[in-house]
Amino acid sequence: MATDTTTIYIYRGDASGGEERPYLVEISPGMVILDAIHYIQANDAPDLAVRWNCKAAHCGSCSAEINGHPRLLCKTRLDDYLATDTPVHVRPMKTFPIIRDLVTDVSWNYRMAKRIPPFHPAHPAPFTLDQRDVARIQEFRRCIECFLCQDICHVIRDHDAKDAYMGPRFMAKLAELEMHPMDTENRIPFVRNDAGLGWCNVTHCCSEVCPEGIEITGNAIIPLKERLADQFWDPVRRIFRRSSLTDVGQHEPKDS
């Protein structure tokens, strides 16, 4: 019985340059793109560099671009493309510097993470928390740090504004900390001045590519923009805040 095969085009190169090369892959049922890459490594190109770990969409290591669209290699089925006769082109993430082949240097993200003011609770853990108060921030804790949202964000991707804007991943992180019921730190001036929230024009691409389905724009970025408006654009609420009519009864008041 003849074996079904397909050709996959994979970017091969490093910082000095490179090109896409075609590889013939034997198709097996349920194959994901990462399986195809492992097949190529085993049969044609043992030196093909790809970063991967869990193969279960939990570690966020195998981020790349398939036909120009940021995706996890382990979560993208080959038969989705075969069904529509679409050739498969796999390239490294465009936003980050290439190391080799499909591996990019994402260390900029870790440097950004270090700049975020850490969790500053009203009193040391353990806490007793109501589920209603933490349901909202639990969504952000699903993040696997694949950085696909950073890759698709046009502010970083096309304008290379890495000095001005931290990107959607860290907006979600900032929202998670800012909305935590036990946190006392006011990060909104940081969000505005250091994290560069104003650079985001809410085009929702980060939410569209998130493999964990985190609604980054709607639940993190826009709420942060509203909190920023509370503090910097709304004199009415500023008066009310002085009268302690908002955020009354927090575990510990913000700005204390």
């Binding site: 290439i98 046009h154 504004a161 650079w199 024009n201 809410v202 929702h204 709607g218």
Partner: protein, 248 residues
């Protein structure tokens, strides 16, 4: 640090978005037509009332209250138009459709002087909540207009116009109350629902508004077409092109 060679403009279209150009161009055309129609309606007409039907562009009837006979819609139409222009959903749509910042996800953004919303006039979008406050007042009057649409010369009367005004008020209410700024005011600004008085009910309201908020884009489009259609219906009645269909 070396840049990825893949930083060159991608020639490849995303698999699921081969017709990526369709949505931004459709937005461009429809929004442009809506803005042109609104400008024509607001800037060239002194009357927006036909019997007991009042066009949403002219509501509330501030011109009548202040005795302004010329272009009374100018006095109020800036509120719903400003509310829509600063709306988070519309921002996404016009940044994609008009500014091409970007036209679609993963499509190269050609803008050379992109500053996001850090500078005026786009930073003025942060004033969205003030338009919301005013839009909430307008919604009250739209409901009054919808009720008035069923009463003509002291009698209950149901015409096609009555139903159109009612649907207009319903859709505009959904659009206004599903707004991100309203969601924030209802409960988004609270970190700890359980530790403040009324927190339980605010949490329930916040959840409800959050559910509506997921359909904000749908309400944005449908309410826009409804305003457009309502006004056009009343304008055609005023000009005598059509006659209102009375059911009873």
């Amino acid at each position: 640090m070396a840049q990825s060679p893949s930083r060159e403009k991608s020639q490849l279209k995303p698999k699921s978005e081969t017709a990526w150009w369709l949505a931004p161009n459709l937005t461009l055309v429809v929004f442009s037509l809506f803005v042109l129609y609104s400008a024509w309606e607001v800037l060239t007409h002194n009357v927006g009332r036909y019997q007991n039907y009042l066009s949403p562009y002219f509501s509330p009837d501030v011109g009548l209250w202040l005795g302004v006979p010329f272009l009374p819609a100018v006095l109020v139409a800036w509120i719903p138009l400003g509310f829509r222009a600063s709306c988070y959903y519309y921002r996404r749509e016009y940044y994609r459709g008009f500014f091409r910042d970007p036209a679609a996800c993963g499509i190269h953004d050609r803008s050379k002087r992109y500053q996001g919303e850090t500078r005026a006039p786009l930073s003025w979008n942060n004033l969205h909540r003030f338009f919301l406050y005013l839009a909430l007042v307008v919604v009250v009057f739209l409901w009054k207009d919808a009720v008035d649409g069923f009463w003509y010369q002291g009698h209950l009367e149901v015409g096609l116009g009555s139903l159109i005004l009612l649907l207009d008020a319903i859709l505009l209410s959904f659009y206004t109350f599903s707004c991100h700024a309203f969601r924030h005011l209802v409960g988004g600004n609270i970190d700890c629902f359980s530790c403040q008085s009324g927190g339980r009910s605010r949490y329930r309201w916040w959840r409800t508004i959050s559910t509506l908020n997921q359909r904000h884009g749908l309400f944005a489009w449908t309410s826009m077409f409804m305003v457009w259609g309502t006004d056009l219906y009343i304008r055609l009645l005023l000009s005598g092109v059509i006659h209102d269909v009375k059911f009873f």
